[in-house]
């Protein structure tokens, strides 16, 4: 197995390239392990496969999201290998050879990451149990581990591994030598969609309608379904806004207000570009946050379910922010040439920093603002009806606010570093 041996050697030599991928696999294994353990904790009366149809559904969602995170990270891992794969292809490796190469590396990473993830999960387990037990006022073995949970975790991770393997094998097919060798992700506007065009006003109306309807629907203490449905209608509008409404709005602002503003002129262009590139992910995050908050409201006085939901909520936020920061950082790093030419045209560092700040603020502002708009009203209505305490509402909002603000800061710092490195001749 010459290729396999070579693949492992390269992995050892270029271990930095795999750091993020490995980390995300460790995180997702840890999360999956913890989650199944909780689901099958007999001490608090949970058992996998009995009753609780809804929590089974929830666990499925978590597993999917954890796997999606791993896939995201895998895509990043592959994109860093383009030139390398190009070299192998021109050296006569062929599709089969490249697939074997990628799969071997992938397996090596997975074999290292999963046990590590389990170990972290095992160590974090007592902390979680402590929280759960104290909230339920029971005592029990903090180190409780269920065999059933381990089996389920292993099955989930194997499924994930299989999916990643298919992705890796497919990667070799989709790319030819030239694409791989001359891989450059410079800015390119998306081709205009040619499908039937809805007037943009429809999107605006649909997005804003929930703000009115929320106040008109009946409020029930443990049923948020109606709010969820209304939000989903609104999300259709938001999704259209991402695709066409916001770019159009930005264009309007550019043409009429920003021609003489050095920061906004560039900033809005970049922002509309980053939104286009990350729209899918942003939409998923918004949906997830709204769904989870509605669930939290529904079950907040049902102690056995609420802990599970809060826990899932935390996990989802964690994985989602992980994905978004990842994606944005990748996108930002392709802006080097743009900032370099601005620098040559007479923009100084201070200007460039302000553009980056504008862009980052804008993007994370949108990620925060849209769900907060809906959630804020929903929470407000429940508080008004005396069905929810202000403390819980604030906690629910802070739970996504803080992580997203945090990753926003990380993104900005990283953006500055990447761009100034590029300008100073790191290319």
């Amino acid at each position: 197995m010459g290729k396999a041996k070579f693949a492992l050697r390269m992995l050892k030599l270029e271990y930095q390239k795999t750091f993020f991928y490995g980390l995300s696999l460790v995180c997702s294994s840890a999360v999956i392990f913890l989650f199944f353990n909780y689901m099958d904790n007999h001490i608090i009366g949970n058992e996998i496969g009995t009753g609780m149809g809804f929590s089974n559904l929830l666990s499925l969602a978590i597993m999917l999201i954890a796997s999606a995170t791993a896939c995201f990270a895998n895509g990043f891992f592959l994109s860093k290998k383009n030139e390398e794969i190009g070299i192998y292809t021109m050296s006569g490796a062929g599709v089969g050879g490249v697939s074997i190469y990628l799969i071997v590396q992938n397996f090596a990473i997975i074999i290292a990451a999963i046990p590590l993830g389990f170990l972290i999960g095992y160590l974090a387990n007592p902390i979680l149990n402590q929280i759960v037990y104290s909230s339920l006022h029971i005592t029990g073995n903090l180190w409780h581990i269920s065999t059933q949970a381990i089996v389920m975790s292993v099955i989930t991770l194997l499924t994930q591994t299989a999916a990643l393997t298919v992705v890796n094998a497919g990667y070799a097919y989709r790319h030819d030598i030239l694409q791989l060798l001359h891989f450059n992700n410079t800015m390119k506007a998306e081709a205009p969609a040619s499908s039937i065009r809805m007037p943009i006003i429809v999107y605006w109306v649909t997005a804003l309608i929930p703000l009115y309807v929320f106040f008109q629907v009946p409020v029930a203490s443990n049923d948020t379904m109606v709010f969820l449905v209304v939000s989903c209608v609104g999300l259709y509008g938001i999704s259209g806004l991402f695709k066409r409404g916001l770019p159009q709005l930005f264009e309007f602002l550019q043409r009429h207000f920003n021609m003489n503003h050095k920061i906004r002129l560039i900033g809005f262009g970049n922002l509309s570009y980053s939104i286009a590139r990350t729209a899918t992910l942003i939409k998923i995050i918004i949906v997830a946050i709204i769904c989870m908050i509605c669930l939290c409201i529904t079950y907040h006085d049902d102690p056995s379910n609420s802990t599970l939901i809060y826990f899932s909520y935390g996990v989802i936020i964690f994985l989602m922010t992980f994905c978004i920061v990842y994606r944005v950082i990748v996108e930002n790093s392709s802006n080097g040439p743009l900032f370099e030419s601005l620098y040559k045209l007479g923009f100084v560092r201070k200007d460039l920093k302000r553009i980056m700040r504008f862009e980052t603020l804008g993007l994370y502002g949108i990620i925060l603002f849209i769900p907060t708009l809906y959630i804020g009203i929903i929470l407000f209505i429940y508080i008004q009806h005396g069905l929810l305490s202000v403390a819980i509402a604030v906690n629910l909002v802070l739970a996504y606010l803080i992580p997203i603000v945090l990753v926003g800061l990380i993104t900005y710092q990283n953006y500055k570093k990447v761009i100034f490195n590029y300008i100073e001749g790191g290319h």
């Binding site: 010459g2 030599l13 006569g92 490796a93 062929g94 599709v95 030239l178 060798l181």
Partner: protein, 257 residues
């Protein structure tokens, strides 16, 4: 087909774009026959299709119409799996960028094709050392690419292309990142390989001085072969001026006086 024909192309067309209104015809029907031991250089203005032709002739890209035979095998109908094997046995690629792997030593970089093909360690070492000696880079074998000069790195890339003993070397602007001294050294190596070992070479360049090392020059314009020039008996200088003339004829018409 002639027995010593290395590459034959017939009626090669390349069309980009799927819909009628966006179609761009990059190659409009090219016929070409390269015999063993030839050193062919493709020239042409940017956008003329010269790189597309090189790619189509060397299995990197597929023609939309027509066929390409290398060593008697039709490469157009090969599966992805066969192509890998075929490239390994028959082709050596050299590009403008050197495309070396930074984390590997020079020795390991040159050995990449052999490592992937499962050749045993002793043989790899022997073959790499042999080729490195020929290209005068044996003292760099333990170094990493970042510790070598541009000229050395391009020679490493050549060594990697040659280590499998290919019948055909395909080079796309191989001197694009080299200064003139190194460029001429590189071309001298090409000429030696071509004359002494009978390696067939197909090269794209925009530089007439570089092209003057070849034995035959093809000028592509608008997807067709416009001019064919053979070095036959000319001195390199005479051949060089012929190439300059062939390439500037049309532009000179644009001159304003």
């Amino acid at each position: 087909m002639e027995t010593n024909s290395v590459l034959t192309a017939k009626g090669v067309k390349k069309i980009y774009g799927q819909f009628d209104d966006q179609k761009v015809v990059a190659l409009k029907g090219i016929d070409l026959n390269m015999v063993e031991g030839e050193f062919v250089c493709i020239m042409g203005p940017s956008g003329s299709g010269k790189s597309t032709l090189l790619n189509v002739l060397s299995t990197i890209d597929l023609p939309s119409k027509g066929f390409v035979h290398i060593n008697g095998t039709n490469v157009v109908s090969m599966t992805e799996y066969e192509l890998g094997q075929f490239r390994y046995k028959n082709l050596g690629f050299i590009f403008q960028e050197f495309h070396l792997i930074e984390s590997l030593t020079i020795l390991d970089n040159i050995a990449v094709p052999l490592s992937l093909a499962n050749v045993n360690k002793e043989e790899i070492k022997a073959r790499v050392e042999d080729i490195a000696k020929k290209l005068n880079i044996e003292m760099t074998l333990e170094k990493h690419p970042s510790e070598c000069s541009g000229g050395q790195r391009q020679r490493v890339a050549i060594a990697r292309a040659l280590v499998t003993n290919p019948r055909l070397i395909v080079a796309d602007e191989p001197t694009g990142n080299l200064d003139s001294q190194n460029s001429h050294e590189l071309l001298s190596i090409f000429r030696r390989l071509n004359k002494e070992q009978g390696v067939t070479i197909l090269m794209v360049t925009h530089d007439a001085t570089i092209a003057s090392y070849s034995t035959k020059m093809l000028r592509i314009k608008d997807g067709l072969i416009e001019t064919e020039l053979e070095a036959d008996g000319m001195s390199q200088k005479e051949y060089f001026y012929k190439i300059v003339e062939a390439n500037s004829q049309e532009s000179q018409l644009e001159f304003m006086d």
